[in-house]
């Protein structure tokens, strides 16, 4: 599977990393080079026996969050009236929260 410039643009957009057009050819080459080494995985058909895991530990539903040693305002880039502030979304009413 060869990586294309459009693939790089697509994943950079998904990852929200601004990538300069001038950097794209090099990234195509690098990712393609790395992924070429991964082709060996295509040969894997064998399945290892399943390891039965005990499952995860659960926490009791009791208040007791890890406290913050410093107020949020000290590490937040922008806060007002207790809210974190970000630039207004262009498509804000289109965007869904959790769904």
């Amino acid at each position: 599977m060869a990586v294309s410039a459009d693939d790089v643009r697509r994943v950079a957009a998904l990852a929200r990393i601004g990538v300069a057009e001038s950097r794209i050819p090099a990234l195509v080459r690098e990712l393609d080079g790395i992924l070429a080494h991964m082709e060996v995985l295509a040969r894997v058909t064998e399945l290892a026996p399943d390891v039965e895991l005990a499952g995860m530990p659960l926490a009791a539903d009791e208040p007791g969050a890890v406290p913050l040693a410093r107020p949020r305002e000290q590490f937040a880039p922008a806060m007002r009236d207790g809210f974190f502030l970000v630039p207004r979304l262009a498509t804000h009413d289109a965007a869904a929260g959790a769904s």
């Binding site: 895991l53 005990a54 995860m56 208040p63 979304l89 289109a94 869904a96 769904s99």
Partner: protein, 474 residues
């Protein structure tokens, strides 16, 4: 446009907030209405190095919800990361279940007998809240909700009308409130509805393109939005236009369904198992133990009550409130016939509770049963019984003792009754004359007067007989 030529196909996705004290993956409180970001910690702020630990109670409630909806709970389920960027999604991914959900199958039976299937039920965490209209040019982010435990109930596309959608949602909410899984408050966002809608010509078997409507924040909005969107689909199909698969929003004030402004890219959530969370494995016996805590669903109860002689409206009234129905069952279990128990619980008990007695109105079922038995045995009149019940709310004594102390035991002694009858006739000469002159409909009035005179102690049947005897005796 011939809308009858088309059939509405709807599947609903409902997000329900589980009733826990703390969040799904950290121990921050889930309380509603606190100052912004008050209830946040390293985990739900997604600070570098913080890790999630799943809330045991959330699992318990999710399992109970699934069982209450007749779903099959899987002993092993897996949390995955659903990756997308949004300012109120602190980690840049939502922890949800994807390939291996907690439960599959199940359904909700509607009153008319139709059953709406459920495809899957999975656990996930809520996002925070983005406020767009508070500050000019900026979106304000409050993460108090971020990480609150939810279940998503994905319904099958079995719904055929907006009315049926409303019935499904009401039934679903009733079951979940009953199972004590959630408050299901649409105002506080603990019960949220998205709908997938399409229309096809009657007789067609394939499904046509669907659209998704979000923001359905009340049952009536949901029904209204479905009707509007269905009409739009029908019109498009009739006109030979293409229905585009997209997300729509219901604008309640404008009573309109509009496309959500399209996002800049299509979604690619890149789900993969969350490596911070090993599989959720339910211990042997866990599901059976949970099943024991699932109350009988309200619909089944209603059917049972009706079969025991309770009227259908009474059965609905009883099941409308979890506390009331629990008390009703206890009273029946204490030996009171179901119709009589319903009469008492929906009458005196509910009235007393609503008048300010609160849960104290639920006097011990055994004592209420004793009181009812005294009425049946003519030991007290029903009006005296009401007074005795009112006393019982604040008095732990046995009803018979209270009746005796307060002089409310029924008097069946002929001499005493005769004396009361004589007095009443003497005190009300006009009515007496008319009654004795043959106006039989005055019997009730006179019996009532005798009852009043006796402070409810007279046996009304015998009083009636005595009064009628006076007429016959002439």
């Amino acid at each position: 446009m011939n809308r009858d030529a088309f059939e509405m196909i709807v599947g609903l996705e409902v997000h329900v907030q589980l009733r826990t004290r703390t969040k799904a993956f950290c121990r921050c409180p889930t309380s509603f209405g606190d100052p912004p970001n008050r209830n946040t910690c390293p985990v739900c702020l997604a600070l570098p190095g913080a890790l999630p630990v799943l809330n045991a109670r959330a699992v318990e409630l999710a399992v109970r919800a699934a069982l209450a909806l007749d779903a099959t709970v899987h002993n092993r389920s897996v949390f995955a990361r659903k990756n997308y960027f949004y300012p109120d999604l602190p980690k840049g991914y939502q922890i949800s279940q994807f390939e291996h959900p907690l439960a599959t199958g199940g359904g909700v039976s509607l009153d008319g007998g139709r059953r709406i299937g459920i495809t899957r039920i999975h656990m996930e965490e809520d996002a925070g809240k983005s406020v767009h209209d508070r500050f000019a040019g900026a979106t304000a982010v409050d993460l108090n909700r971020a990480g609150v435990p939810l279940i998503e109930i994905v319904g099958a596309p079995d719904i055929r009308s907006s009315r049926e959608a409303g019935a499904y949602l009401r039934a679903l909410r009733e079951i979940l409130v009953y199972a004590d899984v959630s408050d299901c408050s649409m105002e506080e966002g603990s019960f949220r509805v998205d709908a997938n809608v399409s229309a096809r010509r009657r007789g067609e078997s394939a499904l046509r393109t669907r659209t998704e409507i979000k923001n359905l924040n009340s049952f009536s909005n949901a029904e209204r939005a479905l009707d509007i969107e269905f009409a739009r689909h029908c019109a498009a199909h009739e006109a030979g236009e293409v229905v585009v698969q997209q997300t729509m929003l219901y604008d309640a004030p404008a009573d309109a369904v509009r496309p959500a402004r399209s996002k800049e890219e299509s979604h690619d959530y890149r789900y993969f198992p969350d490596p911070d969370l090993p599989p959720l494995v339910l211990a042997p016996g866990y599901v059976d133990a949970a099943r024991a805590t699932v109350p009988e669903p309200p619909g089944a109860r209603r059917a049972r009550y009706v079969s025991q002689g309770v009227t259908s409206p009474d059965a609905h009234a009883l099941t409308a409130d979890r506390g009331v129905v629990t008390y009703f069952e206890a009273v029946v279990a204490a030996g009171v016939p179901a119709p009589t128990a319903a009469h008492w619980v929906l009458g005196e008990v509910l009235a007393a509770r609503n008048a300010g007695a609160g849960d104290a109105a639920f006097v011990e079922a055994g004592r209420l049963a004793d009181l009812v038995a005294m009425v049946r045995a003519n030991e007290v009149s029903s009006s005296a019984a009401k007074a005795i019940y009112a006393t019982m709310i604040g008095d732990p004594g046995a009803p018979r003792a209270i009746a005796a102390r307060d002089g409310r035991l029924q008097v069946g002694d002929d001499a005493a009754l005769r004396a009361w009858v004589d007095e009443v006739l003497a005190e009300n000469p006009a009515e007496a004359a008319r009654f004795l002159g043959g106006e039989a409909r005055l019997l009730g009035v006179l019996v009532g007067l005798v009852m009043k005179k006796s402070s409810g102690r007279a046996d009304p049947k015998k009083v009636g007989q005595l009064l009628s005897g006076r007429v016959a005796g002439r």
